[in-house]
Symmetry: C2
DNA sequence: CGCGATTTGTGCACGCCTTCACAAGCGCCT
DNA sequence: AGGCGCTTGTGAAGGCGTGCACAAATCGCG
């Protein structure tokens, strides 16, 4: 039941970071656990077993236990985990014990929807300011928040202790916006613009690209449409003859026959 | 080599039904490459080396080459990749040679923003129908699309050959909506509702949880705030009274409290 | 016509993540 | 008090993904 200490380093010499060095995969799942735990707490559960929680969040129970074990040892064998305690622990590690201030840049359609999104406020965040480059939008009020001009970023970021920026601008504007955010002191960025961003090493960026998600689904659709087709005739399976925009040229694999080696499955 | 069909020699002009069995990690990156390649094509580039493309998309060039090699062999040594050919290949594997019809359920703030989002149309998708359970919204028109009642789902899905559903409803409604989508024949779902969904095995679900993204960023913020803070202050750092909702109990951590971290190795 | 510069495609090793399986710990019941 | 069933925490194994480093392949030039 050793703690999160990565390797059994010597206590005397090893300066241990304040936070357990969680695997990224674990970090990404903790919020999911947290959500489920809040539900359980509201439903009046005092404790929960890893097995029960794992079915709720659709995660292998061993993986769940290992994830939680990274936080320390907060379960009771034979009983399970104390729901409230676990919530507190996860919120602590995720840094949610303080309500973090977020700046939202770009109040187009998506930006407005994000500004209104209740999920942020409900889960530890406060949208502290809205920005846009369009002077016509500046001064407008969106869900109780004044839209400021992007040039006011440095001042507002400082005043409101903003550490997280959300980019909901068109792609061409995104890089300039990040640069401004970064120089204003923001060190975490959530990017909705469909483009790659350049940031210094100390800045974290997460991207959400809506079209990419659909394209990934599209791949699986394509695959499903190919394989289980017992008829085994058509390739793209399109019922109607559409495909108007791009040239629907057929794939021509010009792989060289130099390797007759046909590795069978 | 020879991932999928060794079509090279025998030009039976036959279809290539068997798609290469791409690693999921590769599938997730292909859309990013595709985006960059479109830019390159517009900029007039005929060919691109893996090195150049890799810097554009911020991916290790070896990884990039390996990803592309899964598609077949479409590069020329000493030269690079043919941009147009590569675009066609990626669009083919992703199943983008046909424009896929998408149903969007839930036209609240987020749903409306998604309905307006140009990125979908620009990248191979067509929002074919909008649905909502609220009769007051049914009949309204949003960005040129009629909002239908969710009970019309089966009919519309069939008529429009919809295979992908997007859920932008509140969490409590999401599971019921998926069930309806699935029974209507939809086999891929993009879920924006903050909850876990149950679906049959043959249905793919991808989730986008905006608050989770912020929480992951929050974790890294927390970590950054702990480690490099040379001063004694560490844990929750921010001023201002907060944490009104939940008990701001400090971590009853058995792990050692914040030790000033010395520099790494 | 051959040589050097360039770039692809990939074998290999390493590290992270997942999963199984099980000993250790805890509470309850008899 | 002792045993029994339940659950946690984790060692070990296997799989997947990443990145290095290099042979093979191609082009351009002398």
């Amino acid at each position: 039941m050793s703690q999160h200490r990565p390797t059994g380093a010597s206590d005397s010499a090893g300066p241990v970071p304040a936070l357990p060095d969680l695997p990224e995969a674990t970090v990404a799942r903790l919020p999911v656990y947290l959500r489920a735990l809040h539900s359980l707490a509201e439903a009046g559960n005092d404790t929960i077993s890893s097995e029960a929680l794992s079915t709720a969040v659709r995660v292998n129970s061993a993986k769940l236990r290992k994830d939680l074990s990274h936080l320390g040892s907060y379960g009771t064998r034979g009983v399970g985990y104390d729901v409230v305690l676990l919530i507190e622990q996860i919120e602590y590690v995720l840094g949610l014990t303080q309500r973090r201030a977020v700046a939202l840049v770009g109040v187009g359609n998506l930006g407005q929807a994000l500004a209104d999104y209740a999920g942020f406020a409900n889960r530890g965040f406060r949208i502290a300011a809205l920005f846009d480059a369009d002077r016509r939008l500046v001064g407008r009020e969106i869900s109780g928040l004044l839209v400021r001009h992007i040039d006011d970023l440095p001042q507002t970021v400082a005043e409101e202790s903003i550490t997280i920026g959300v980019i909901a601008t068109p792609a061409p504007a995104a890089q300039a916006v990040v640069d401004q955010l970064v120089s204003a002191g923001v060190t975490s960025i959530l990017n909705f613009a469909p483009c790659v961003l350049s940031v210094p090493d100390n800045v974290d960026v997460r991207k959400v690209d809506l079209a990419i998600e659909l394209q990934i689904l599209s791949f699986h659709e394509h695959r499903k449409a190919s394989a289980p087709a017992a008829s085994g005739e058509e390739l793209t399976t399109t019922p109607g003859g559409l495909a108007a925009t791009t040239t629907p040229r057929l794939p021509t694999d010009r792989r060289r026959p130099t390797e007759p080696k046909a590795v069978g499955p």
